[in-house]
C-alpha cells in the first residue's frame, strides 16, 4: 500500500515467516499501522484525533459488552437494573460511568477530527471517499448514542425517544405510520426499548466495519498534512511506527487523563439530572434536551418556526436538521478551491473560524432555555450555518486568491518557501501517490 518507498514486511523470526506465508496478518498490520506505512512528517496534534476516536470506540464496545451482561431491556426493570449495576455489580459504577462519559469523549474526539478535516481540506480529492465514509460513521454514531441514551429508561431517555421518533411524524401521510412502525407502538414502550437495545448492540460493530473501510481508503493516498501539499518523496515522510505510534501514544495518555478526571470526579456533569428519575409517560419534563453532542442540531431543529412555501415549520425543522449533516457529503464538490490547507487560504480561514464560533453558539442555544433572545440568536446562527456551506464556501473558493504553497513538505519544515508548489491536480507530474 501507499508509497513506493514503503518498507515491505520482513519477518524477523522463523515463526513469523511460517505464519506470514500462511496468513499474512502481521504483514497487513505492519503495512497499516507499522513501519511499512509512511506518513507526512509535519502532522500536528490535530492529526491525533483519528486514533483517539478508535480508542474510544474500543472503550465503548468493551464496557458496553460487560454492561449488557447486567442490564435488562425491560420497561419496568431497565431503570432498576442500571441502579443494580451502580450499586451491586463489582465495579459496575465504573463501567457505567466509563461508558456514559466515553460516549461524550468519543464525540469530542470525533468533532475535533471533523473540524480538522474541514480546516485542512482533508475532504478534497483524492480523499472524498474517506470523508464520506467518515460521515457515515458519524451518522451511525449518532444513531447508536441516541439509542444508548434511551436504555436507562429515565425521564430524558423516554422523552428524548418520544421527541426524536416524533421527527418522522413531520412528514405528511407516511410520517405517522413510519413512526409507529419504528417504535412498535403509539409511544415508546417495551417494543421500542427491546429493539433499541438490539440495535444499540449491533451498530457499534457496523461502525467498526466502516472504520476499516475509512482506514483502508485513507491508506491509498496517505494522510493529508497541515500544508495540504502532496507527499513528493521519502524525505517528506516518516514511518508510522515508531514515530506516530509514539506521538499518538503520549497524546492518548493525556486525553485519557482528562477523560478519567471527568469519569471519576464529575461523572454526571455531562448528563441531565432528570435521567435519574424513572420514565413516566404521564409527566413531561419542563425542558426536554438531548445529550450535549446533539445540541447544535437541536438548535437548528427548533429554529424553524415559520410555515414557508406551504411547508409546515415542523417539517422545515426536520428537513433543516437532516440537511445540515447531509450537505457535508457534498462538501468536496461545494468547495472547488484546489488548495487544501486553510493556512494558505486567507479568506476561507476567516469564514472557517466564524463557522466554529457559529457551531459553538448553536450548541449553546440547543441546550439552553428558549428565551426570545436565544431563539433569535439560534435562527441567525442556523442561517449562517447553511449560508456558510452552500453559498459562501462555493463563492470564496471561486474568487479567493490563495497564498503561495511551499514547494514540498520538507521545504515547509525548513521554511524554504522560495519555490512554489502546485495545488492538487495542477502539478505537471502526477503526485507521488498510491500503488
Amino acid at each position: 500500500m501507499s508509497f513506493a518507498w514503503a518498507k515491505p514486511y520482513e519477518p524477523k523470526s522463523e515463526l513469523g515467516r511460517w505464519f506470514d506465508e500462511r496468513l499474512p496478518l502481521p504483514r497487513l498490520v505492519y503495512g497499516a499501522i507499522g513501519g511499512g506505512y509512511p506518513v507526512p512528517r509535519n502532522l500536528n496534534y490535530f492529526w491525533n484525533f483519528g486514533v483517539l476516536s478508535g480508542i474510544f470506540l474500543t472503550i465503548q464496545i468493551v464496557t458496553g459488552i460487560v454492561l449488557a451482561m447486567h442490564y435488562y431491556a425491560s420497561s419496568d426493570q431497565a431503570f432498576n437494573s442500571v441502579e443494580h449495576i451502580m450499586r451491586d455489580v463489582n465495579a459496575g459504577w465504573m463501567l457505567r460511568y466509563a461508558h456514559a462519559n466515553g460516549a461524550s469523549f468519543f464525540f469530542i474526539a470525533v468533532y475535533i477530527h471533523i473540524f480538522r478535516g474541514l480546516f485542512y481540506g482533508s475532504y478534497k480529492a483524492p480523499r472524498e471517499l474517506i470523508w464520506m465514509l467518515g460521515l457515515v460513521i458519524y451518522l451511525l454514531m449518532m444513531a447508536t448514542a441516541f439509542m444508548g441514551y434511551v436504555l436507562p429508561w429515565g425521564q430524558m431517555s423516554y422523552w428524548g425517544a418520544q421527541v426524536i421518533t416524533g421527527f418522522f411524524s413531520a412528514f405528511p401521510l407516511v410520517g405517522e405510520p413510519i413512526r409507529i412502525w419504528l417504535l412498535g407502538g403509539y409511544a415508546p414502550d417495551q417494543a421500542a426499548l427491546t429493539r433499541f437495545f438490539s440495535l444499540h448492540y449491533l451498530l457499534p460493530f457496523v461502525i467498526f466495519g466502516v472504520v476499516i473501510l475509512h482506514i483502508w481508503s485513507l491508506h491509498i493516498p496517505g494522510s493529508n498534512n497541515p500544508t495540504g501539499v502532496d507527499v513528493k518523496d521519502e524525505a517528506d515522510t516518516l514511518p508510522f511506527h515508531p514515530f506516530y505510534t509514539a506521538k499518538d501514544g503520549w497524546f492518548a495518555a493525556l486525553f485519557l487523563l482528562i477523560y478519567c478526571a471527568v469519569l471519576f470526579f464529575a461523572p454526571n456533569a455531562l448528563g441531565h439530572p432528570d435521567n435519574y428519575i424513572p420514565a413516566n409517560p404521564l409527566a413531561t419534563p419542563a425542558h426536554i434536551v438531548p445529550e450535549w453532542y446533539f445540541w447544535p442540531f437541536y438548535a437548528i431543529l427548533r429554529s424553524c418556526t415559520f410555515n414557508l412555501f406551504w411547508i409546515p415549520a415542523k417539517l422545515w425543522g426536520v428537513l433543516a436538521m437532516f440537511a445540515s449533516i447531509l450537505l457535508l457529503f457534498f462538501l468536496p464538490w461545494l468547495d472547488r478551491s484546489p488548495v487544501r490547507s486553510g493556512n494558505y487560504r486567507p479568506v476561507f480561514k476567516r469564514f472557517f473560524w466564524i463557522l466554529v464560533a457559529d457551531v459553538l453558539l448553536l450548541g449553546y442555544i440547543g441546550g439552553a432555555e428558549l428565551t426570545p433572545l436565544n431563539t433569535a440568536l439560534g435562527q441567525l446562527a442556523a442561517a449562517y450555518y447553511f449560508a456558510h456551506f452552500l453559498i459562501i464556501l462555493p463563492l470564496v473558493s471561486k474568487f479567493e486568491r490563495p497564498l503561495p504553497l511551499p514547494s514540498s513538505i520538507t521545504a515547509s519544515v525548513l521554511h524554504g518557501e522560495d519555490e512554489e508548489s502546485a495545488p492538487y491536480g495542477l502539478a505537471k507530474s502526477a503526485p507521488a501517490a498510491a500503488h
Binding site: E83, M86, R87, W93, M94, L238, F243, A246, K247, G249, W250, F251, A252, A253, L257, C260, A261, L263, F264, F265, P267, N268, P273, D274, Y276, I277, A286, S303, C304, T305, F306, L308, A313, A323, L327, W333, L334, R336, P372, A376, Q379, L380, A382, A383, F386, A387, F389, L390, I391, P394, R401, L403, P404, V413, L414, H415, G416, E417, D418, E420
Partner: protein
Amino acid sequence: MVRIIGFFVGIGFVLVMLFSLGSGAISYFNAPPEASVEHLYHKEPRELALASDGPFGRFDRQQVQRGLQVYTEVCSGCHSLKLVAFRDLRELGYSEAEVKKYAADFKTEVPSINPQTGEAATRKGTPADAFPSPYANETAGRAANNNALPPDLSLMTKAREGGAAYVYSLLTGYQNQPAALLKQFPASKTPNGLHYNPYFANLNLAMPPPLTAEGQVSYSDGTKPTVDQMAKDVAAFLVWTAEPKLENRHRAGIAVVIFLLFGTVLGYMAYQNIWASAKRKVALKGPLEPANQAKRSRAKAKAGMPPQG
C-alpha cells in the same frame, strides 16, 4: 451542478430561518412576553459544603448516621428509599447486629405472604431487604397525600439540579409568600394545601415543612439538632443513598489519575526521544530571519502578490 442546486437549497434554508426570525420579532413586539412568577421568584440553591465534595471527599460517617436518623424518624413516614438495602448500612459503620436490629425495628414491615394461607401479609425486615415503602402502592401514596405522590428519595441528590444543596435549601426554604409577589401576581397566591418555597421549581409544594422545630430529633452524639443541622445531615445522607460507591470512585480516581500522569510523562519523554532524530536542525530559523524574508518577498513577487503583508 452540485453548487447550483446547493445554492438554491442554501437560499431556501436561510430564508426559512430569517422568516422565522422576523415572525418571532413581530410577535415579540406586538405582544412582549410577560415575566413569569417562577422566573422572578425562583431561587438557586444555597451553598452547602459536605465532606464528600471534591476529588478527595469522604463521607462524614457521623453526619450520615445522623441523616439516617432524620430519615428514619421524619422522612420515612411518607418517602420510600427503594434502591437502598438495610445491609448497605454496614458501610456507614454499623455492626451486623445493629443493622439486624434496625431492619427488624423499621416502622414499615416488608410485604410478604402468610405461609399457611398464602394471603398477603407483612413480616419484620432483615438486612437483605430493601427499605420497605411506606405506602403499598402509588394509589395509596396519592390517596394519603392529597394526590401528590411523595417521590422515592434514593436518587434525589442526583435527580435534581443542585443536588445536596437543593435538598438542604428546600428543607430550610419554607416561608410566607413575599408581599411583592402577591401584589404583582394576585392570581399566584399559594393554593390551600400547598406551601410556598422559592427553591421549588414552581414555587408551591405539596409537602408541608417536614423539619419545623429544634430538637425534633434527638442526636446521641451531642450535635445540636437545629433545623439547619438536620437539613444538612439528611442532605448528606441522601448523597450517600444516591451513590454509596462514591468513596470507591474517589479512591480509584486518584490512583488512575496518578497512573495516567506517569504514563503521559513517560510517553512524552519516549516521544521526544524517538523524534529527536527526525526533527532537523534548521540553520535558518523563523520567518523574521532576514534571509527568509528575502526568500519570501521573492516568492511573493513570483506569485504576483504585493510584497507587504
